[in-house]
């Protein structure tokens, strides 16, 4: 039986600093409209958005569509 062990430092470092692509970021952004993300996902998304103007625009588009859909209801 393999016991659960703490991941090695390099493995943890890799997980923490893994840089996500726009495709992954777009999925997380969509998902964040439906519920809270985990802390690791939030950290990765924040790091990506800090450098990516396109995903920042996409995030604004998501908010735009949500506002529009709510307006459709009113």
């Amino acid at each position: 039986m393999s016991a659960r062990r703490t991941p090695s430092f390099p493995a943890m470092w890799h997980r923490l600093t893994h840089v996500i692509s726009c495709k992954e970021a777009s999925r997380l952004l969509s998902q964040s409209q439906d519920g809270p993300l985990g802390w690791l996902e939030r950290a990765r998304l924040r790091a990506h958005l800090a450098l990516c103007q396109m995903c920042t625009r996409f995030a604004a588009q998501l908010r735009y569509m949500r506002t529009a859909m709510h307006r459709l209801r009113d």
Binding site: T17, V19, I20, S21, C22, K23, E24, S26, R27, S30, Q31, Q33, D34, G35, A47, H48, A50, L51, C52, Q53, M54, C55, R57, F58, A60, Q61, L62, R63, Y64, M65, R66, T67, A68, M69, H70, R71, L72, R73
Partner: protein, 195 residues
């Protein structure tokens, strides 16, 4: 240097990189894409920066490779709407993204929602776009966005997993935004110029 300081250091060179890329590519949008790729690649390859050269020189080296790639990939066809309709797995080929996961077509700047949301025509276009979604996708999306049900309620109602739901909602949002870009925002400039 900690991660935040490194990101700030990279971002400080953005204008310089853009100038170089624009000069070489003569295409402002493509230049921005290439600089974006470069900065993300640099962030990813942070450990590869040894400090032997300045950050600027190192970034310029990465940029050159990205420019060469961009020139090679320049002849790329636009994304047809129909390809988005297929209810396939998300891991399949996704025409909205390049192979490396970067945007194939850059998302547009939609500006302030209030500008469009006061116009009746905007909602006509949005309803048209909603009609074009696959039936099941549209149903789930309306439950979430118009009826404002939370994810647990929708999953229970339709007997689907949370993961399933996220995929459907993601697909709905991606298809809707492409449709709105094509049918509304692409013509926004002409409309605002009209008397």
């Amino acid at each position: 240097m900690d991660a935040a300081a490194f990101v700030a250091e990279l971002d400080a060179h953005r204008r310089y990189l853009l100038r170089v890329a624009r000069l070489q590519l003569r295409d402002a949008e493509l230049a921005e894409d290439v600089v974006q790729d470069t900065l993300l690649a640099a962030l990813k390859a942070r450990d590869g920066y040894t400090g032997a050269s300045t950050v600027k020189t190192w970034l310029t080296g990465i940029l050159k490779h990205k420019i060469v790639d961009a020139i090679r990939a320049r002849q790329r066809a636009p994304v047809p709407m129909a390809q988005l309709d297929e209810e396939t797995d998300l891991d399949d080929f996704d025409p909205l993204f390049k192979e490396n996961g970067a945007w194939a077509a850059r998302p547009g700047d939609w500006g302030d929602p209030e500008a469009a949301l006061n116009r009746r025509q905007f909602f006509d276009v949005m309803e048209l776009c909603l009609d074009q979604l696959p039936a099941k996708t549209a149903r789930v999306f309306i439950m979430r966005e118009v009826m404002d049900l939370d994810t647990a309620e929708i999953c229970k109602e339709l007997s689907i997993t949370a993961n399933n739901l996220w995929v459907i909602l993601y697909r709905a949002r991606m298809a809707l935004r492409v449709c709105l870009e094509q049918k509304w925002f692409a013509g926004a400039a002409e409309r605002s110029a009209a008397p």
